[in-house]
Structures are given as C-alpha cells and as structure tokens.
C-alpha cells in the first residue's frame, strides 16, 4: 500500500538563515531559525492567500533559535491558553503567551534565577487530558540533565468560602530533574501519554524514565555502526506514538540515518525502518535515510511515521509493517514563487536538494484548503530556508 502526498503550499525564504526547528499546533505552523526569529504561520489559509502575508513574527535572540514547541489548550471555564517555548543558541529558554485574537506576543518570565543559569537545548510541552494530572514543560540541558516542570494555568489560591478562584495565571512548578550519570549532550526529549519521558543523547544512548517518579527505567544503545570514535551515532530525535505504546528513535549511523522502534511496556526493540538496498556496500548497516535523520513524527493514529533526512527526502512508513509507503523528494526549485527559490546560499553552497531539518504530520482539519478536512498532511522545514506543506492525495 503506498500513499501519495501532494504539495499544497510552500514558502521560500521563510527566514533569513537556516531553519532549525518546527512545531505544529491547531492555529499555526511554528518555525524558528538561526536569524533569531520565531514565526507563526497561519494554518487556515484561504485560496490564493500567501503564507508570508499571514505570519506572526517575533524576534527572540540574536544568537539564533533552534528548538520550539507549542501548547494549545482549552482550560476550565473556556479559557484558551496558547504558549510557545523556544531555546536560543545561547542556551536560554523563552516562553511566550500568544493572544490568538490580536496575535500579540507576551514574554513570560517563568524560570527562577538559578534555573535561568542553565544552558538549555531541547524543549517540549506535554498536554495532559486528565484533570488530575497537570501539564508539563520538559527541557534538556547541554550537560545531559532533563528538567521537568508542572505547568499550571490557574492561580492557586483558595477564596474564603472555599471556592477556587478561576484566574488565568501561567506559572511553572519545578517537579524535578533527571540527572545524567555523566556529562553527555542531551539532544532531544519527548513525553508519552502513558507517563514516560525519553531523552536522547549525543553518544547514541537513549534513556526512558517514569514521568511521575523521574526514575530511569530503560537505557537503549544505538544500533548504528560501532567501533570507531569518528563514526557518529548521535540521537537526533525521539518520539512516542500518540498512545504511548511505541517509541521511535532517530540516530546517526556514520553518515547514514537510522530509525529504530521500541515497545515501551517491556523496553523491547521491535525493529528498524530500512530502505531495501541493492548495493553490496551498504549491507553493514540498514539505513532509513542516506543522511542524518533530523526529525520524525507519528500521525494522529500512530499508524504512520514520517522521517526526514539530510538527503533531502521525507519518507512515510507503515509502522505495523515497517514498510515505506511514500517518499517525497524535496528540490529547491519546487518553491512556487520563483524569486523565493534559494538554489544556493550566499557562500556558494548548493541547496538544489536541500537537507530536510524537520517534519511533522498535520492532523485532519488543521490546514485550510480543499481536502484538508478529510486528509492528513505533512509539513517540513528545509535548509533552503523554506517551509512546505503537503496533503495526502485522494478522497476529495
């Protein structure tokens, strides 16, 4: 069974420098870049509307911004909360509250003085659907620690008559820290709906801990080429499936990229996602992409996984069969507006086949346009400074 994705919208020169991170929420596709800006691209575009005409932009930090995540929730009493967290290359963590009516950004000062001194790297929100479990904000630092906060949206004060005052007040309560046994750059993190938290490290190891107790339960080692110090097996992305049954890990295997699936109940490895190769040279390692895999994303049902790589390709996999069902080849030339095509950068580096730095599935009904209500989509960011949106073909 193969799937076909067609391009719906794209936007070249979306940022002035490399785009390093993306996240998708209901109202916006969010990107961050080395130019220091955070951009929120409106999802529900009408026919003929250009992404660049409907974007909210906020300058965050002059050293550039690399990881971003969004939190969108309807809280008690119909209070809508929309937060965006991002990390700058200077290691600072920024959280913004965005007013969806006016599009105004408000920078929130949530961290304590000592928390601000850490050098953060990756950040992720966890939205809890259980009223008794609070939302979470999770961040890793460059020394390998994973820091977990409870994200509270209301003021915690009881009125004299014993009733809760329902006043919106976003604040963090530190839950704890999962320390790294040895200094090791923590590159990525994710939280599952089953109460697990996973951190990926530069040296190829992946550690899974319980969210409630912050105790580590499993450590997985990479399955890439081993033996030489020079051979990279850095973990680039980790993702839990929507129901939390599976864990997907993207790590380097030398210059190739691998994606491995684990089952989370017993910590068993299920298998790798591999492209069939007919080359006699490649049989030492089965790889997912002919280049590092920078991003992975499950669809809403957990049946499919999208992966993207330095080879300028996006692949969609059937998780159950571990089979590739679609490959999207990205080329710099397919940007709609010709003057926004960046075939090479200012320094003469060719971007004809731009590495794909991030990918996410788009749920049904998130994007505007024909077929978006019935079909899922995919969005990606590429090194040619573009953002692209695709939709599954058929059923329109």
């Amino acid at each position: 069974m193969s799937k076909l994705f067609i391009s719906t919208t794209n936007c070249g020169k979306a940022h002035e420098a490399d785009i390093f991170g993306m996240s998708i929420s209901n109202p916006f596709t969010i990107t961050v870049s080395g130019d220091g800006a955070l951009k929120l691209w409106k999802n529900r575009l009408l026919d003929g509307q250009q992404p660049k005409e409907h974007v909210l932009s906020k300058f965050v930090h002059k050293t550039g911004v690399h990881h971003v995540d969004a939190f969108h929730s309807m809280e008690r009493g119909g209070i809508e909360v929309f937060l965006v967290a991002c990390v700058s290359f200077s290691g600072q963590l920024f959280v913004y509250s965005i007013d969806l009516e006016s599009g105004a950004f408000q920078e929130l000062d949530l961290l304590t003085k000592s928390e601000k001194q850490k050098s953060y790297w990756c950040v992720r929100f966890f939205k809890s659907d259980d009223l008794n479990v609070s939302h979470k904000l999770v961040a890793t630092d460059v020394k390998g620690n994973t820091i977990v906060w409870n994200l509270k949206t209301f003021k915690e004060k009881e009125e004299a008559d014993g009733q809760h005052a329902e006043e919106k007040d976003i604040h963090l309560v530190l839950k704890g820290e999962i320390p790294s046994p040895e200094p090791n750059f923590a590159t990525c993190v994710d939280v599952s709906s089953k109460g697990l938290i996973v951190t990926g490290f530069q040296d190829g190891s992946v550690s899974v801990s319980q969210l409630e107790t912050l105790r580590p339960i499993y450590v997985f080692e990479g399955f890439g080429i081993k033996g030489t110090e020079e051979s990279s097996n850095t973990v680039r992305d980790v993702k839990f499936s929507p129901l939390g049954e599976l864990l997907a890990v993207a790590n380097d295997s030398g210059s190739y990229g691998c994606v491995t699936l684990y089952e989370t109940e017993y910590g068993e490895r299920i298998g790798n996602l591999t492209v069939p190769t007919h080359s006699s040279q490649a049989n030492i390692a089965n790889f997912t992409h002919d280049g590092w895999v920078f991003g992975i994303s499950f669809n809403s049902t957990g049946e499919f996984l999208a992966t993207c790589g330095y080879d300028g390709k996006i692949r969609v996999w059937d998780v159950k069969q571990k089979e590739r069902v679609s490959t999207l080849n990205i080329s710099a030339g397919d940007i709609e507006i010709e003057e926004d095509i960046v075939p090479k950068d200012e320094f003469g580096d060719s971007l004809k086949i731009p590495p794909v730095m991030g990918v996410t599935f788009i749920n049904k009904g998130v994007r505007g346009g024909v077929g978006s209500d019935t079909n899922e989509g995919i969005s990606c960011i590429c090194l040619d400074r573009s953002v692209r949106w695709f939709r599954e073909a058929g059923g329109v």
Binding site: A17, D18, F20, G34, K62, T63, G64, H66, F89, S90, G91, S119, V142, K143, P183, N184, F185, T187, Q202, D203, T228, E229, E230, S231, S232, T234, D252, G254, S255, Y256, G291, W292, Y310, E346, F347, D349
Partner: protein, 382 residues
C-alpha cells in the same frame, strides 16, 4: 695624616658596644640601619635616549653598592603608578625577610643590562634567546616576558618591542614574489618566519602576480599548500600555527595596507568552535587596530562541506562536540552577535557556529577531501 684627621669615621661596632653613641635599643637600631638609595625607573625625557637612561640607572646602582655600601630600593614607575612592588637589595634589617625576594632584583638588573646591550648594538633578539642565556635565573620564559613588560611600562614606552627584545616569531609565510620591506626582504618561494616590523614598515613587490593571501590555522596544511605548485604559484600563504601571535596579525595588517584591492584575503581554519575563534582573532580584535585584518574573508572549512564530501568516507571524519566545546561555542556565538564585522563574515561565522552546535559535530581541516587539502582548495577556488 692631617687629612685623615678631618674625616669623620663611622662608628665601629666596638664604639657601639661601648654605648658611646647609642644608649638605648632604639638608637642602636637607628645607628645600625644603613642609608638607602632609591632608584626609580620612570619615563625618560627622550625615548631616543633609552640606552643612556638605562646605563645611568645601572651605574647608579653599581656605585651605591660598590662604593657607598648603600642598599638599593628599586622602584618601577612613578609614585601612584608603580608597576611592581619596590625591591630592597641587598636585604637588611632585623625583622624576617619580607617583600620581594632578591632574585627579582637580579632578574631586573640582568634584563636591563641585556636591553642596554641590544639598544647599543641596534640589534633585535627574541625573548627565548634571552631566556636561554640564563635559565637558572629566569626559571621560565614567562618570567622574562613579565619583567620586560614591567620595564616597558615603567619607562612608559608605546611598544614593548622598543626594548629590542621581542617575542619569537611563531608564524610562517610563503610568498611567490620577493617582498621588500625597508632594507630587507622576504625571499620568494621559501618558507620564512614572519619578519620583524615596526610601525613604518610597508611591503613592496610585484603584486600583480598574487591573486590571494591565504591564512591557515595549521602548519601541516600550510606545508601541503606550499608544496602544491598550482596553488602556491600565485598565493601568499600565511599560518599562525593555531592561535596567532601578535606579529602574524600585525604582518597581515601590513599586507592589507600594502596590497592592491584586487588581492583576495582568505582564512581557513578547523571546523570547530576554536577554529571560528581563531578566524575571528585574525579578522577582529578590540585592543589594537594595527593587529587586525578586516579584509580577511572566512572561507572554511565548513562543516557541511565535510558532510557533503562524496570523495571521502562520509561522516566518518566528524567528531562529537564535547561539553566544553558546546559551552565555548555558545559563548562565542554571543560574542560574535555583539561584534561589528564587515562583509559576509558575521553571517558566515554565525551560521557555521550554529550548524556545528546543531549537528553537535566538529572536524579538522586536514580531513577534508580525503585528507587532501590542496584539492579541496583548488576545487573551491575554481
């Protein structure tokens, strides 16, 4: 004999014991305390007369000890602007030895003698040479540098090199044309040390035969490029061997002023945060304007060139960034963001640092193109 009668002799120990002069302990102490001669190193009236100033100071010291038997109190710099703690030599007094030890005075005097000799001969020698003349006294080379700095500060000299004892040249250069400066020259097609220069030095030569000035971080790569005739035929190649010394930077600044604008200035370093820092050191520094070269253009080696490199075993030459590297890169990025850099440099350096951090990888410049830097270089400049 009559003459002798007029000379008032100092009290002998015998007189003192007899208590003729000093009846109390305090008086005895005072009587035993010698006169001290204060020698002060300050700005000479005319910096041309540095040599005679030093020789006066040295003879004053010599006379004090040899003829007047007076201990010295050597002070560097004017009151309120003293460079070092005053030094008493030889030590006297009743309390235990405190303050600066005597070998410091010995170092100072021996360096002053050396400087005077260099000034008289109008010759330049290196700090290393001076150090090896008396290893036992100086103990390490840094001491020599430190005291030369102190002397230069005390005399309020505009530049330490005026003492004619200078830092050893670290940098190397290779030029395809003869470069004349003053009454000396850098021979063509020879690896030479960066020459000594002063504020007025300028270089002349047949510039039309030079396309570019190439600055390299590593001397291994320098040797590769020099040996490659295609590259070295029309490129002036310079290396500072890692972090550059001031002289190499000064040399580049001089070249920049002497070269016509058609000559391109390029810098190649390792693809790691320190490489970026080294490139920045050449291009920009806030302290001395004569020792920077904003015309230099950062060219690589870029991390993505190593990633895209189809010739070599891809990816295998990349190393993980250590925590130290990551912290250094983050700080450097912040510093770079504050800097005013000309041309594409700022963007380029920022982008490289961001990518190194995001990929969490670094690489050495030697490993590019299957460890053939010359072919990488030729390809890049095709």
């Amino acid at each position: 004999m009559g003459v002798q009668a007029n000379v008032k002799l100092r009290e002998s120990l015998h007189d003192l014991i007899q208590g003729k002069q000093a009846s109390t302990r305090r008086q005895l102490t005072e009587a035993l305390t010698p006169c001290v001669r204060e020698i002060r190193l300050t700005k000479p009236d005319n910096s041309e007369e540095l040599s005679s100033e030093i020789s006066t100071l040295l003879s004053l010291m010599k006379n004090a000890i040899e003829q007047h038997r007076e201990p010295l109190n050597v002070v560097l710099g004017l009151c309120g602007k003293q460079v070092k703690q005053p030094m008493r030599f030889p030590f006297y007094g009743f309390e235990r030895v405190t303050g600066v030890s005597a070998d410091k005075t010995a170092i100072l005097i021996s360096l002053m003698k050396r400087v005077q000799r260099q000034l008289d001969l109008k010759e330049t020698c290196t700090i290393r040479d001076v150090f090896y003349l008396n290893v036992e006294l100086y103990k390490n080379q840094r001491t020599v540098t430190e005291w030369l700095n102190a002397i230069s500060k005390a005399f309020e000299l505009p530049h330490r090199d005026m003492l004619r004892v200078v830092a050893a040249q670290k940098g190397l250069c290779f030029t395809p044309i003869d470069l004349h400066h003053g009454n000396s020259m850098i021979m063509k097609r020879q690896k030479s040390l960066i020459p000594f220069m002063d504020a007025n030095t300028s270089f002349t030569g047949i510039w039309s035969e030079i396309d570019r000035v190439v600055v390299l971080e590593k001397d291994a790569v320098f040797n590769t490029l020099v040996d490659n005739i295609l590259v070295s035929a029309n490129a002036l190649i310079v290396t500072g061997k890692g972090y550059p010394d001031w002289r190499t930077r000064h040399f580049l600044d001089k070249l920049m002023l002497s070269c016509p604008p058609s000559v391109a200035f390029e810098v190649y370093t390792d693809s790691d945060p320190y490489g970026i820092d080294i490139a920045l050191k050449y291009i920009q520094n806030c302290e001395k304007s004569v020792e920077k070269c904003p015309r230099l253009c950062y060219k690589g080696v870029l991390i993505q060139e190593l990633l895209h490199d189809r010739l070599s075993t891809r990816g295998l030459q990349l190393l993980n960034l250590k925590i130290r590297d990551v912290n250094f890169a983050m700080k450097l990025l912040q510093r770079t963001a504050e800097l005013e850099l000309s041309g594409k440099n700022k963007r380029m350096l920022t982008q490289e640092l961001q990518r190194q951090l995001f990929y969490s990888k670094k690489a050495e410049m030697n490993s590019v193109s299957n460890s053939d830097f010359a072919s990488y270089f030729s390809k890049k400049n095709k």
